[in-house]
């Protein structure tokens, strides 16, 4: 979706402003939001693409006025209600109206290290043919889906060159809807800075994006 999250190339946000000796979390609620989001994710009712899409659907004005963990909080509340783990009434009151549905297995403290070190692979070990190969010239499809996508606006319609084939991965656009993996190749695609930004791009500079077969056509 063409949401406020798609920030690449926008102007007006000001300087970067790094914080010296920055702590990992800036407030207790950030820690709790972070951990609750991860723990709820292990219930298995949504995947990472659904999580990202839930954050992206935050109204654009609100998205730009809030920080990272507020985006996470919005996403978590959205998914919990959409997936039926809590009701909107429970969320509003903060009180459980009844027990959770049976069969859900909550993450235990003794499982934390193993699930984190295991990770969640988006790579798919299936023999899917590649449409493209390193060196190929490609154009990113000019598409504007209402749903989740990982082709940012600033690269759509532009021509680049396949730098490398990363192998076969889950396709986020379908995975975010119903978990359909639609496995396909992901490539690092090189775009010359001047292709993207015109004469203000650096003469020798380039931007690389990881893009799926379904986003690309031979150019």
């Amino acid at each position: 979706m063409n949401g406020a999250h798609d920030l690449g190339g926008m102007h007006g946000f000001g300087p970067i402003d790094p914080e010296p000796n920055e702590p990992v979390f800036h407030a207790e609620w950030e820690e709790r939001c972070f951990a609750t989001t991860l723990a709820a994710g292990f219930l298995g009712r949504w995947n990472i693409d659904m999580s990202r899409f839930a954050r992206e659907r935050m109204p654009p004005v609100e998205y730009l006025q809030t920080g990272y963990y507020e985006h996470w909080l919005h996403g978590l509340e959205t998914l919990l209600v959409e997936r039926g783990l809590v009701s909107a009434e429970e969320l509003a009151s903060g009180r459980a109206a009844g027990p959770a549905e049976p069969g859900l297995r909550k993450l235990g403290a003794d499982q934390v290290l193993s699930v984190i070190f295991k990770g969640g692979k988006a790579r798919v070990h299936e023999d899917v043919p590649a449409k493209l190969a390193p060196g190929d010239r490609v154009r990113v499809r000019n598409h504007h889906p209402y749903g989740h996508t990982r082709a940012p606006r600033y690269v759509r319609g532009h021509v680049g060159t396949i730098d490398r084939d990363h192998g076969v991965f889950v396709f986020p656009d379908t995975h975010a809807v119903d978990g359909q993996k639609k496995p396909q190749h992901v490539y690092a695609v090189r775009f010359e800075a001047r292709e993207l930004w015109g004469p203000q791009g650096g003469r020798r500079d380039a931007v690389y994006l990881d893009l799926w077969d379904d986003y690309l056509d031979p150019a």
């Binding site: 920030l7 690449g8 190339g9 946000f13 402003d17 790094p18 914080e19 990992v24 979390f25 407030a27 609620w29 950030e30 820690e31 709790r32 939001c33 972070f34 951990a35 609750t36 723990a39 219930l43 990472i48 990202r52 954050r55 006025q65 990272y68 963990y69 978590l76 509340e77 919990l80 809590v86 969320l91 903060g94 009180r95 959770a100 859900l104 909550k106 993450l107 235990g108 403290a109 499982q111 699930v115 984190i116 070190f117 990770g119 969640g120 692979k121 790579r123 990982r150 082709a151 940012p152 600033y154 990363h166 991965f169 992901v186 690092a188 800075a193 993207l196 650096g202 020798r204 931007v207």
Partner: protein, 210 residues
Amino acid sequence: MSEHDHHHDHDHDHPRLTDAELRVRALESLLVEKGLVDRPALDALIDLYETKVGPRNGAQVVARAWIDPAYKAWLLRDATAAIAEMGFRGRQGEDMVALENTPGVHNMVVCTLCSCYPWTVLGLPPVWYKSAPYRSRAVIEPRAVLAEFGVVLPEETEVRVWDSTAELRYLVLPMRPEGTAGMDVEQLAELVTRDSMIGTGVARRPGDAS
């Protein structure tokens, strides 16, 4: 833009909880009451990312690559395996790519769409990496962004910005600083900053302030 900007209009003796604080507290207790999350598990997750998983992991990878050419070659060929061999693997580092900075090519990493970041080697991202200024500007004016970090590159150096749009996670291998001959892996790791592994900084030289 930050959570600290809200609710400055209170006139109480004690600070009022922000909307986000109240919502997170209510949500956590609701989920605990319903048996969906376990408080000790939350504490363990926080402790893991506050005290164990952080940029010291990546610094060990970089320092080893600086002194061990075979390891460096492996890291550049198969970063996931080479990094896992150091014990760093899992969430948000499932598929790693290492990018070597040289006098001719400077790599830097951003995630314009969210804030993808290689947690296994760098921990959780700093606020600036997640915020609109960096996410908007890194791709369109990387040299201006680098200058704000004190990195000014020669015109001939090619700047490559990697926008992490998929599930590959990027670790920049910064150039080994001069004056480090004979240093061991622990001494070298001290010179590897978080920003040098994002590509918004360079490694410290011996004797530079930390």
